[in-house]
């Protein structure tokens, strides 16, 4: 009885951190998926310089550590002459979230591009001979098929994101991991770590179940 109270107390202390972790997760998903879609279409556009520039962005985001990108947004941007003072983000959480969104947009963009390339060229031909415009072909034919194809990869990436959110604790944001650390330091035992692991695990599990459902729903 005593010990279960004690665990419950600990969970309660971890609650706000857990919320921050979830907030970062949701913000990143909600913003990086549409942004990734835009990045894909720009990358695949016929405009060569634009496509090259977007290619550079993707390389940068995928070729450097997310942690470094977070530090960069937080510390380095304000130091850029003239524009820096406007770039300074007052909130550590916002700085981290900006890095997360940009980084994940690049990963999602590459997943989406794979999904688009997997669409049979016969789909475009059928659409064309049926007099469906290029824009409608994108919206009604390409996007729905692409989303179905990429669902498993998006699910995978989403679970990675859930765990990656812990990186934001390095900016001093009071997320789940950071709060857990504080508790462990205070209580000098590892119970809080175990609880945090269980929390992450439950969230990952819920995600994987949701995505399995989505896959079933949108199967064709």
């Amino acid at each position: 009885m005593e010990s279960s109270n004690w665990v419950f107390e600990m969970l309660k202390q971890m609650g706000p951190g857990c919320l921050i972790t979830l907030k970062l997760f949701v913000i990143t998903i909600v913003l990086s998926i549409p942004l990734g879609l835009i990045v894909t279409f720009l990358y695949m556009s016929k405009n060569k310089p634009l496509s090259k520039a977007i290619g550079g962005f993707i390389l940068l985001m995928r070729g450097t550590p997310l942690l470094l990108q977070m530090f960069f947004v937080w510390f380095a941007l304000p130091m850029i002459p003239y524009v820096g003072e406007y770039l300074e983000l007052k909130d550590r959480f916002v700085a981290g979230a900006v890095a997360f969104v940009l980084n994940y947009a690049a990963y999602f963009a590459e997943i989406f591009r794979g999904g688009i390339l997997a669409i049979d060229k016969g789909q475009y031909e059928a659409s064309k001979v049926l007099g469906i415009s290029e824009l409608n072909t994108k919206i009604r034919i390409v996007l729905p098929q692409m989303f179905r194809t990429v669902l498993p990869s998006v699910a995978n990436e989403t679970i990675i994101l859930l765990k990656d959110t812990a990186l934001i604790s390095s900016l001093g944001v009071a997320d789940l991991l950071n709060e857990t650390n504080k508790i462990v330091n205070r209580t000098t035992n590892i119970t809080a770590y175990v609880l945090a692991a269980i929390l992450y695990l439950v969230l990952s599990y819920v995600l994987s179940v949701v995505f399995k459902k989505l896959e079933k729903k949108f199967s064709f």
């Binding site: 049979d120 016969g122 001979v129 098929q145 064709f220």
Partner: protein, 248 residues
């Protein structure tokens, strides 16, 4: 006036000249079968007629209106208007896998505001009935057999009420026992007077349903004529050899 008039059409892929001056006249109600060995340019020619390939030289007219003249194409808007008179059926069906059968049929007419939604829905039902698949309205393409898929693809093309339907080997991807149901739908359309240009290896269909056989070889039309003329007395040795080999 011809439904399709192709004059001296030329087309290269890089250094490979695939169409070396192909001409073809299609009259209303014609069923034309294009035969020829693999790589002779049949698909490329058929696809050129509906703007899936852009030709380098020559002219193409549809129902008296120019799609391209001496290799120069009309504006996009003109193209869309002219091409709306044609439908095409592909070897691999190319149904939209994420949409059910009804949605496959209705998508283009809805987007092109061909009629009210209710009318389009009724048309979809009637059209599916003519290909014998009205009970599959809500099925997904993946739930159909190959023959059923191709009949849906034909129905989808019919939804736009085209003057002409092009078929590129419509039965080549099917198991032999499923070709019959597709060919009989095509025969029915032929009887109803739908103009058709069909690239095919089905000699029975070519002989019984087509009123003209066009034999292509190496990017040219080597010989053409009525089925009797072609199957019983082809003049060209290459034509004869090809027909003998496929009829065996």
């Amino acid at each position: 006036m011809y439904e399709i008039e192709a004059i001296n059409v030329k087309k290269s892929f890089g250094n490979l000249e695939v169409l070396k001056g192909v001409s073809l006249n299609v009259k209303k109600g014609d069923v034309i079968a294009i035969l020829g060995p693999s790589g002779s340019g049949k698909s490329t020619f058929l696809r050129s007629l509906i703007d899936l390939e852009e030709v380098d030289e020559g002219s193409i007219k549809v129902c008296g209106e120019s799609l391209c003249e001496n290799g120069k194409y009309v504006s996009k808007k003109e193209k869309n208007r002219i091409l709306s008179k044609m439908g095409m059926v592909f070897q691999h069906f190319n149904l939209f896998p994420h949409l059910n059968i009804k949605e496959n049929l209705m998508l283009s007419p809805l987007l092109n505001k061909q009629a009210s939604k209710k009318e389009i829905e009724e048309l979809a039902f009637e059209t599916l009935k003519t290909v014998g698949l009205e009970d599959k309205m809500l099925a997904k393409p993946s739930e159909l057999s190959g023959g059923q898929k191709q009949r849906v693809a034909i129905a989808r093309a019919l939804m736009r009420k085209p003057e002409i339907i092009l078929f590129d080997e419509p039965t080549s991807a099917l198991d032999p026992e499923l070709t019959g149901e597709v060919l009989s739908v095509m025969s029915m359309l032929a009887k109803e007077g739908v103009t058709m240009v069909v690239v095919t290896h089905e000699m029975g269909f070519a002989r019984e349903v087509a009123n003209e056989i066009v034999f292509m070889h190496n990017g040219v039309v080597l010989e053409k004529g009525s089925p009797e003329e072609m199957f019983n007395g082809a003049k060209n040795e290459v034509t004869k050899a090809f027909l003998n080999s496929v009829l065996k």
